[in-house]
């Protein structure tokens, strides 16, 4: 049994079919990535797992139990936490408050305090700026904060929506090394990316989404070297 099983998931926005019967699985301890172009349905997939958009068909199972139809809050309680696209830090809250609010459902004060220190170790920049309003941080720092905030919930599965979007290459490298580190510490990661190259390098397995359907799947390394994936997403083919 996989940790997360998505079976024939469909989502409609009005009359438009954003996802057409997609199926994939995430096993405990893995980094799984969904890659695909803009509008392929990557964000919609994560949003429907989180309960932010409701599915029009199919099921989502966590530990074998059906979780489609639950409230976002219940999904978070089960340890499935999303880092949304575009960071979405609370710009009107301080850096420290952003971390604290990530632990909103936790009641172990000592544990939360210890985890805040852990986040400061993981992201030293956040410690320097802990009193600043999150809206004043740079894009890279906001991404660090968004990841830290999600980790404060002690997720079993961390879902990340385009963490490298709009960031400088050096910071993208940092973000991916942090993703690997988080995974090594025992958190399962479901990552979606337009930066397919970086995502496939870090991922155990990958799925290629094209206009709402899974077109291909395989080990990260295999997809990275696959001719058709290279042509379509990695921009490595000779013109």
């Amino acid at each position: 049994m996989s940790l997360l099983e998505i079976e024939n998931l469909s989502v409609h926005y009005g009359g438009i079919e954003a996802l057409k019967n997609i199926s994939f699985t995430v096993n405990a301890g893995e980094i799984v990535t969904l890659i695909g172009a803009n509008g392929a349905g990557k964000s919609t997939t994560l949003k429907s797992i989180s309960g932010l958009v409701s599915a029009s068909g199919g099921t989502i199972k966590h530990n074998g139990e059906i979780i489609s139809g639950l409230d976002t809050q219940q999904i978070v309680e089960r340890g499935i936490v999303l880092v949304p696209e575009g960071r979405k830090v609370f710009s009107n809250l301080s850096v420290l408050e952003n971390l604290k609010i990530g632990a909103y459902l936790r009641h172990d004060h000592a544990g939360v305090a210890a985890d805040i220190e852990r986040m400061y170790d993981l992201f030293p920049r956040l410690k320097e700026r802990h009193w600043q309003m999150a809206g004043t941080l740079s894009g890279g720092e906001q991404q660090m904060l968004a990841v830290g905030r999600a980790l404060m919930a002690k997720p079993q599965i961390l879902m990340m929506d385009e963490p490298s979007l709009g960031l400088a290459p050096l910071i993208v490298r940092d973000i991916f090394s942090i993703i690997r580190k988080i995974n090594e510490q025992g958190t399962t990661v479901l990552l979606i990316e337009q930066n397919a190259n970086a995502a496939l390098k870090v991922a155990d397995r990958g799925y290629v989404l094209v206009t709402g359907e899974v077109m291909m799947s395989g080990a990260g390394h295999d997809l990275l070297t696959d001719k058709s994936v290279q042509d379509a997403y990695l921009g490595t083919s000779a013109h």
Binding site: G51, E77, K88, F90, L93, I101, Y104, G139, A153
Partner: protein, 293 residues
């Protein structure tokens, strides 16, 4: 004007301003969370006036006051659940129109149930006791209103800025979806906002009507509009802004009346609204949040 009468008018103005501030807080909090101008708020305030009339008919004021506050809170929360919650995903205009509908519903309901004739507002005798300080004399309610307002605002600011609940309120006011991803129950936070706003309106109503003698189904309309102006003047969404706006409008209205321009005092308030919207739409202390994308 002698200095004594000036002090007297300042006192009256501050007192009126305090009541306005408490009502303005309801507008500003709901706007902060729902981006809704809750037109029904003025009528919740009016209904609180009627609740007090009926409560005081059968019980002493120490029991009547908490009961009236509780019933007003209940009314505010029910309105939110019935008229606003089903429209959560609808465009902002729909929910605003719904609030206008609720406003008229409450006014007509009050007219139907209590008739349009003014009902005498009960006297809470300790509030009417007259104090003499030097040559200035005023009733206790005049002294009490601004003090109580500041205490309540202080508690509210603490709640918003230093508690987990307040942090969740600020997060919800910024972004529903992301707040949900933190595990926050949006509807619960919105209900809390209506609880606070309605409680403040109930207290404001007791302080306001104690100086006014009577309640009619339309007693909420004009003070409600003025308090809305107060909230915009201070910067809608900001609690200190609403308080500042309430005091400015209360004091200027009192002075205009004292100088014999009572006919123009309402016009002045709305002129203030137009000027602030033209020259400083974010209000006197409304925040401009920096968002880096």
């Amino acid at each position: 004007m002698t200095s004594t009468t000036i002090i007297q008018h300042i006192l009256t103005g501050i007192s009126l301003g305090g009541a306005y501030a408490l009502i303005a807080i309801g507008y500003t909090l709901v706007y902060g969370i729902l981006l809704l101008i809750n037109f029904a708020h003025s009528d919740i305030f009016m209904m609180a006036g009627y609740f007090m009339v009926f409560a005081m008919a059968v019980m002493p004021w120490p029991i009547a006051i908490p009961l009236v506050i509780a019933v007003t809170i209940f009314l505010g929360v029910v309105i939110e659940k019935a008229a606003y919650k089903p429209l959560r995903a609808a465009p902002r205009m729909s929910i605003m129109i719904s609030s206008i509908g609720v406003s008229y519903l409450l006014q007509n309901l009050a007219t139907y149930l209590f008739s349009a004739l003014p009902k005498g507002y009960p006297t809470i005798s300790p509030l009417k006791r007259v104090f003499q300080i030097g040559s200035v004399s005023a009733s206790l309610v005049t002294f009490l209103t601004p003090v109580l307002t500041l205490i309540l605002v202080f508690i509210l600011m603490y709640l918003i800025n230093h508690t987990k609940l307040g942090m969740a309120m600020r997060a919800v006011s910024k972004d529903y979806d992301t707040a949900k991803l933190m595990g926050i129950k949006i509807n619960q936070i919105i209900s809390v906002t209506f609880v606070i706003g309605s409680a403040m309106a109930a207290i404001g109503s007791i302080l306001y009507f104690t100086d006014r003698m009577s309640v009619t189904p339309f007693s909420g309309t004009l003070p409600g509009l003025k308090c809305f102006v107060a909230a915009v003047l201070g910067g809608i969404g900001s609690v200190p802004g609403a308080v500042l706006g309430g005091f400015i409008i209360g004091i200027s209205e009192t002075f205009l009346t004292a100088m014999g321009y009572s006919t123009y005092s309402d016009a002045f308030t709305f002129l203030l609204l137009i000027l602030i919207l033209i020259f400083r739409p974010t209000g006197l202390i409304g925040e401009t949040v920096t968002d880096k994308v």
